[in-house]
Symmetry: D2
Subunit: 341 residues, 4 copies
């Protein structure tokens, strides 16, 4: 049996660990052959492939990124997408695919599977918002990096008695913000799932200063203020003269300064959250996902993705997760309100 | 209501995070008062207590160890133990206890609860072997430290083409060895749950050298060779002339050298695995355990301990976990055999 | 003898290590007394002081920030500044000051010393640009954090085949950019000391893509393009309609995208570079600076600052360093040009 | 011109960074060719070489260990050693060598150079005890790892109120012990340069307990007690019945327990100190050493080694450093005595 492997979407610590365990188990235990499709679905469209054997995956376990490259290409948005993917598979003698990706990549996989492409999915995203799995790999690494940054910012905030707003990743869900904020001892955590009240945030900030400590506010990049509160003081124009909104972190720091009369600064963590060596947790999870994905292919369990349920790896129909994002439950968020302010 | 808090057994990253969240929620949300019992059950026996209010728990979230001190004292092995504990509680007006500890500390808690002491347990151990919970806090930190050490040892092993045996914590269970070994890309992982065959280990070692890579063997301190294989070449005598066995790591390195004719070295990670700042995962888990333990006290759910089940915190009867240790499942261990050798 | 201690300017890992070693040696060896002036020169103006004994400095060695607080206040820019400082010293029985700060703070110290205030300086700045010393503490920590970030960004850059521009601290000097860029394997390093040619940077970027690797460009925040190259495509207007320039990193990423037709992203490391626990090197240097500063006070060597020369700590007249900044030597910068592109 | 490169002695973080910068500059700037000799002098004896071009050194900057392998072989202790080295050089058309190593490797280099082999030395050792240079690369990484371990051990020591003895590398010199001990806030630091008084150490330990803190004792592996104090309570017999001394750390912990009646534990850091990614400082230093070593070859400055002097890289005659070890100066050690106890 010959299996094609591809990684799609934003890169994520642990991708290489999945690739390695897929190949190690597939070759050593089942005698499968493998081929890598380059740059996600783009390689499937273009027919660009690379050899993928045990020598190719040596030493990649601790390395961030993906040796296969990635892209955000959706094959179904290209003319003849399905046919071109099928041609690539046929030309390379590929019997089945292992597709490692987030919402978008797996969404395309679901559709292609419906149209007859035999494949198994592996969920990945540092944002942790793929439905159907307790955690995705990459998330723990991102939370660790963000927490370490918050630890560092505490000391600089205290020394200058100013608020520090930390903008972390999470456009549609607040998992990184919530986990890193709680782990880092933040005084306010703002997530996309719950529009925030700027006045409440400022009250928390003032309260913190009152007891002679400096506030840390952690905001997911997708966090938004309550309706009516986004006053565009900080508007700026792009080259076409359109209003361009700066990030929520910068906006918030300005609001805090304006409304409380105390100093505030912003740090946008950005891409460092998704790079570098995966944490031990993510290496463990990614490795197990890879082992179980190969088993799923062997069992002909196409149209499923592997998922974490407690401490078990299970199979979940791709259809069940399609178009759904796993967001932060309100009751979980409320669990932590005692730490705000 | 006044609650006593104690931490028992070996120290563990995350203890302070539990104490902090217990006090923050108890005081701010329910108006409880708190008192700390010093050095685990020892303080309960001796009546040594310390004040525990919000000021006392400020800034302790990222700090390893425990501000309350710890000990391995078992109150039930002291004459009048129960009465002395009850006296301490009465003398300090304590209505209920929150007991944070591992197997032994919670075992004593279970017995005291049967005899009428109102208490709620919080499981902790870096070894991850408390029954009834998916994970204990402290474990992720220990695995992270061990994995980073293994990462480092790979380069020195390769440079000198020698085997490195890494002895990690785990007297009764192989959780740290298995997780860190998989995350670190070990070529053999030895756990107490499965007596190992020295010849098999040496075959793996030789196989690894054959492809020009240097082997890493991860051994839990409680790992043992198959019956008959522990030949005491390395016996040494203690001051009374008794045979004293050196650790399994050292023994194994000698065996590998003797049986394969290749160089081997040992590193015993020791206490660094249990110290220092907790990982983000452990801070999150410890914080949630603390919040839910206070809720359990408020609800009068005495005789239970909080536990992780998937992503939920649940309550488990202390009686159910008593005297049981959570060991590595054989099928989980076998999942990874493709990586050995 | 009673000594006042103050920390001024931006906070910097190692400040607490200096304070601790000053107090430990002063009290234990010479029987000096100490008092802390709060928030840099602001405390000297306002007379806000805090007790500073051995208990106060316990456990602060590994902690970032400063227990004394800091500010950018210049006492000489306040009416009656000198007199008010002298009043504070007199009111608290302070015989001499130890002033820990960068260019500005030490500049004020130099002037006050001329006017009769007895003081010894300790140079600090993460930027490493204080004249007269080989290194300042805080710099090594900042370089370490920036290097780790660059390590992480390599993997995400490779996975998506895009340029990553990393903006690091350094308004007037390129020390952090140069050290972190070399340590991180950057393909271009831009420093304030040498205006850069955007076309050259783009040529390097294209060259890197040619060999199928993704470029990392490290830019000090004070780096500037050659005259005429700053075309304001990315102009934006502040609330008064004035053109507001975004940071150099963002500008450069836009230029690279526009001129090469390849993707580019920016990460601004910001405040995380100045927070958190100091590196071992910085703790060592800060501790030695503190020990020698106390000796200088004991010796009556007022008007000097301690400095690192090779592996020795020496005394340098404050006057000699006044108004000078230590910039990157052109020949040092040129040493590394082989790595560009 | 064709240059051979070899790395000898114990591996050390930064070796690959030297190799990379040697090859990058040699090839790109001077058009030199390179060849790697495998496993130190062993490869020179056996004629085992590997190609060394720009592709071979890609991506190795952050990697610990050495891609060339290493050994402790001394060519001059082999019959015909000189001739065999010369034959290897001739057979591969090698005009000159760059020899990266510590005391022993450079000692052999000095002798070979006297006998006509054209070579330039690069000092390396995590121990920092090569004479003639302010620092060697690898040392800063080792100190950083040891300091982080001490940070971790503080919390476990405090929680159990026991002494922790940390044994670090340093057979002949106490540099790692001194730097890491000071950076880690140790209460006693024991170095080979100064035989220690066990009673003094125990007095320090007791003093520390008196103020309710737990002592950390850092001991270089080569530290020895004063004459007469090594009472062999802990003797053990090796397989031939000879007395075998356990390490100084273990011995000391036993003495402290016996003499003070308080608990003590030992951690032997071992090989983790020499593995893994080099610190930013070491990558910087190693890279500069490499660049300057190539310049020395181009200039025909054979018989020299590159060295750090302040912030400059200089050339030092190999003869000057031969047979000398750089030990810790007594006055430097005494600088820190205020922190003991």
């Amino acid at each position: 049996m010959k299996i094609g492997v591809l990684t799609g979407g934003g890169d994520c610590p642990g991708l290489n660990a999945v690739i390695r365990s897929v190949v190690r188990k597939g070759v050593q235990e089942y005698g499968f052959e493998f081929v890598g499709l380059r740059d996600g679905w783009l390689g499937a469209l273009r027919g660009t492939v690379m050899p993928l054997d045990i020598a190719a995956v040596r030493g990649i376990l601790p390395r961030g990124g993906t040796i296969l490259g990635s892209s955000r290409t959706n094959p179904l948005k290209h003319e003849d997408g399905l046919r071109r993917v099928q041609d690539t598979l046929a030309a390379n003698g590929v019997d089945a695919l292992i597709v490692i990706g987030g919402e978008d990549t797996l969404g395309a996989a679901t559709e292609l599977n419906r149209q007859g492409v035999r494949l198994v999915g592996v969920p990945k995203t540092i944002d942790n918002d793929v439905a159907g799995t307790d955690y995705t790999f990459g998330f723990d690494t991102a939370v660790g990096i963000a927490t370490e940054a918050i630890d560092r910012l505490h000391t600089t905030a205290e020394s200058h008695m100013r608020t520090l707003v930390v903008e972390v990743m999470g456009r549609h869900s607040g998992w990184i913000a919530l986990h890193a904020g709680i782990a880092g001892g933040a005084n306010a955590i703002l997530v996309p799932e719950r529009p925030f009240d700027v006045d409440q945030v400022c009250a928390w900030v003032k309260n913190r200063f009152k007891i002679h400590y400096a506030p840390i506010v952690v905001a997911a990049e997708g966090a938004v203020p309550k309706e009516g509160q986004m006053i565009l003081k900080d508007r700026s124009l792009d080259e076409y003269g359109h209003v361009r909104l700066s990030g929520i972190g910068e906006w918030l720091a300005q609001e805090i300064e304006g409304r409380t009369g105390t100093e505030a600064r912003t740090t946008v963590l950005g891409h460092v959250q998704r790079g570098g060596t995966p944490s031990a947790f993510d290496r463990w999870l990614a490795t197990r996902f890879g082992l179980h994905a190969v088993d799923a292919v062997r069992d002909g369990a196409f149209g499923t993705m592997v998922a974490l349920r407690g401490t078990d790896i299970v199979r979940v129909p791709l259809d069940d997760t399609r178009g759904r994002i796993k967001v932060v439950d309100p009751s979980l968020y409320d669990e932590f309100e005692v730490f705000f302010g």
